[in-house]
């Protein structure tokens, strides 16, 4: 039976302004065995962290919106109980990305990608070197600069936020040219290479252990809800303002195109993050490369969310050769807006935080925390994969077979509208009934059957599922982006 339910009455404006109501529930989620530790900060400075990385020697580098870079010497070294902060650099223009690159530090500041070099090993940078030229900054406050990340061949990737307004604004965000709204590459010859277009406010870039590039983008005009994209060179990811710099387009051409024209060009998001449900302002994706030091999610993607002050998981699923997948909350209750995360070599997940200009659930103005795992096994959803008949959900422990019944699941689906409007309501929302459930022999995987419709986002809640130990998962709802069914 199909029934239309949960029809969202949210107007676009309410999407924009009522997310405080998402915070009405003051309870916090954390899987068993995980806890948050708060790091003391240097005094008398504004530590709005928006760039974060950990060096192989355990030094933790944090870049701030004030324009400073600080290093917590040996901060990731578990035996070091009194790490000290040193100010590594200052005077930069709102740094929103940082990479430890062998012996130097790269920062994405608003007007420049800059390499900071400490030439005399005193933990203070003496050289501030421009890495590449070729793009432009026009003093618009929203022209943030994210990254860089580096691939194994030595290429760097960074992303250029659109301007607020701007000459080519087709709605709210625009471009005054100079490759705004693009991801760019700095190749091994040091050249600027425009890499992919259609980005709006791509606050997080990540490169996977298998060298695949991803970025997150924020809900807004032309972006129905926040999302993750797998990035391929030359492709267009949805926001039209960037196209004015594309060699095949022009200002006039872009302004004479329709939403349908742009939709035909745009790549589908790899994973949608439903607004007010899993993320409102996602940061950078990282992969759990800790070989089990961080628990049962090895190899999976984690992303911080600024508004929710949370970290969520993304489970990628390759279907017909294309990535899609699911997002679900991992932990919340952080003290400030989570914008950057990074694993260290000891299995700790560092969290760089700021709360300025936009509201956050955590009430501190800025901060640095880390998530640690004490080795306790939690009963959680470990992974989800699409099957021909439905989905296969794998848990971290054996499941109580009496809990595995269709009624243990509640599923509904919807789609989004692609338009110049700010965000999208849920369209064609429907309840989907699970028709069958089968528990695997090892009792860790449930295969569910249900009717599948491509181009839908599915909310899959599994409140009825319990472990043999009668433990229940800390999070019982995921959001799967079903771009395609299996051919």
């Amino acid at each position: 039976m199909k029934a239309t339910l949960f029809v969202s009455k949210s107007l676009v404006v309410s999407v924009l302004f009522t997310f405080y109501s998402a915070f009405a529930d003051n309870s916090f989620t954390a899987p068993k065995g995980y806890s948050i530790e708060t790091i003391s900060l240097p005094e008398n400075t504004k530590m709005n962290i928006a760039g974060l990385d950990v060096a192989s020697n355990g030094d933790v580098y944090a870049a701030t919106r004030l324009g400073e870079v600080w290093v917590l010497k040996g901060g990731a070294d578990i035996s070091n109980t009194t790490p000290i902060w040193r100010r590594f650099a200052d005077g930069l223009h709102e740094v929103t990305g940082l990479l430890v690159d062998d012996d130097s530090i790269m920062v994405a500041q608003k007007p420049e990608l800059t390499r900071l070099v400490d030439t005399n090993s005193d933990d203070i940078a003496e050289q501030y070197l421009r890495v590449v030229k070729g793009w432009k900054f026009h003093n618009n406050y929203h022209e943030y600069h994210y990254g860089p990340v580096k691939d194994n061949e030595g290429n760097y990737y960074a992303a250029l936020n659109l301007a607020h307004g701007g000459k080519t604004s087709l709605a709210m965000m625009g471009s005054d040219g100079g490759w705004r709204g693009w991801m760019y590459q700095v190749n091994t010859k040091g050249e600027f290479v425009p890499y992919a277009s259609g980005l709006r406010s791509p606050a997080g870039i990540g490169i996977s252990p298998s060298q695949e590039l991803f970025f997150t983008d924020n809900q807004g005009d032309w972006i129905a809800t926040s999302k993750l994209h797998y990035v391929e060179k030359g492709k267009f990811y949805g926001h039209p303002a960037s196209l004015i710099d594309h060699p095949d387009y022009s200002f006039d051409k872009v302004h004479n195109m329709t939403a349908g024209d742009f939709a035909a060009l745009a790549e589908p998001p790899t994973v949608w993050f439903p607004h007010r449900e899993v993320a409102n302002s996602p940061g950078n994706p990282v992969w759990d490369t800790t070989d089990g030091q961080f628990g049962p999610f090895a190899g999976q993607m984690f992303i911080p969310d600024y508004t929710f002050s949370s970290i969520f998981r993304v489970m990628l699923d390759k279907v017909n050769g294309q990535y899609q997948g699911a997002a679900m909350n991992f932990m919340d209750g952080f003290q400030s807006g989570n914008i950057r995360i990074q694993f260290d070599d000891n299995g700790q997940l560092w969290v760089g935080q700021t709360a300025r200009g936009w509201p956050t659930r955590g009430n501190k103005p800025f901060g640095l925390q880390k998530v640690v795992w004490n080795g306790e096994q939690a009963f959680e959803l470990q992974n989800i994969k699409l099957t021909r008949a439905g989905f296969s959900l794998t848990f971290t422990d054996t499941i109580d077979e009496t809990s595995v019944v269709p009624d243990a699941f509640s599923i509904h689906q919807w789609r989004y509208r692609y338009s110049k409007e700010y965000g999208s309501p849920k369209l064609d929302e429907q309840i989907i009934e699970v028709t069958d459930t089968v528990l695997s022999e090892d009792k860790k995987t449930i295969n569910i059957s249900l009717p599948l419709t491509p181009n839908r986002v599915l909310s899959i809640a599994f409140d009825g599922i319990a472990a043999n130990s009668q433990q229940t998962p800390s999070t019982t709802e995921l959001f799967y982006t079903l771009n395609q069914v299996i051919h």
Binding site: L16, G67, Y128, L129, R130
Partner: protein
Amino acid sequence: MRLSCRLLFTLFLGVCIGVNVSAQSEVNGTTSLSLDAQLDEELRALSIDKTTLAQGKNKYILYCLACHAKDLSGGNGFNLKDGVWVHGNRPSDLFNSVSRGFLAQGMPSFKDILSENDRKQIVAYVMSKREGFDNLTYEVYALDSNDDTSLVGKTPIKTGKLHDNLMDFTIPEIKEFGVVFEGDFYTYNDQPTRFRMGGRAFDLMTLEIDGESVEKLWKKGWNPTWLLKPGKQYIKLTYLSSKNPDYLDTNFLGYVTPEDGSIKYFATTARAQGLMANRTYNIEAKAHPVLQRKKIHKLPAGTISVGLPEKVNFAFDPSKCAINALWVGDFLNIGPNIDRRTGDPSLPLSEFIFFAPNGISPSQGNCEYLGYARNQNIRFNYLLNGIDVSLSANSLEKHRISFIFEIKKLDVDGENKKMTFSLPDIPSLKYLSEDGAIDELGWSFYPKENTSFKLDVLVSKDSS
């Protein structure tokens, strides 16, 4: 007597010792209401007279700045441009305050220090700098419903005077309300300014200036904005909460801005005043030069500014390899640029002597910026016509800055191409160089003839 008092006054921040303070005020017992009214009229006329204002400014700098700040924002003495007037807000009140002084608070009687004419010039200047509302009142009305869009026939449920002269949108305290703020309003005489409110530009926020309704500069979107008349005017702002979406925060921000909206001059609402108060984050060069790469008012994107401990400051534009601003005094307030979403520019703490597009700029050829080095000093590195150049600056004495161009490596063909830099033609600047020629085209030298070339820029002391 006048000189010694002036020195003492400046040195002791307003406590003028040894001044013969007359117990008998010039105005005490001799002025009548009509005389004060005459004085008010005279001072109002002087406050829009350019010659008087120039003279008044000079005297203000000499006699008042130490306590009341160069921009009149106050220090040991009161803020002289806001809406709070402890000793009376009429021009004659101001004149009498200057004349009589407040010795217990450290302000001498200027009657014995300055002539009547000098005091009038100072008062006229202070009046010309007046900002915001005066005699501001409010009326709050209850609306019948969310559809009620008229105040006609209604009686206010609450009225009063706002002693801080800031519109306070928390006063209504009911869900469906109309509010009217009105009073005298002062803005600058010497440039166009705008009256901007935060929030959506609803039709139900309207502005009257001197009794006439004024059109918003744009009808849709955010931040309803109106063009102000110069100087003094009477403003009536009416706002009805009807048809508000629930999310709208009606505790509005309000500011006066320049015509391009690039900065906020002063607040017009209580909430905005609170935010403005937290927007000071001054960067100061102490033992070593400091550097800030920030959005700076009037300077191009990407500009890098440097403050030297000797309080000489300059800015460098990497896109043109040009020194594109110079100022003497305190360095930079980056507060507006690190507040909230960072839309507003950092503010130099004294006036530019020159700024972009004026500059000490390479007159020809290509420039490619490479970066800068920071040790004890700051050194900008770039390629100019293929020649590897570094630029640093120092100041060995007050009001003098030396720019040093070092040739790190000549271009590949090693030609001795003449390098020329434009020099801003500013009366308060004098250029000297023993390492190159200075003529009407600017400063030039031949890079092969030396490894280091110095340009001295002397700043007239009057310009700071």
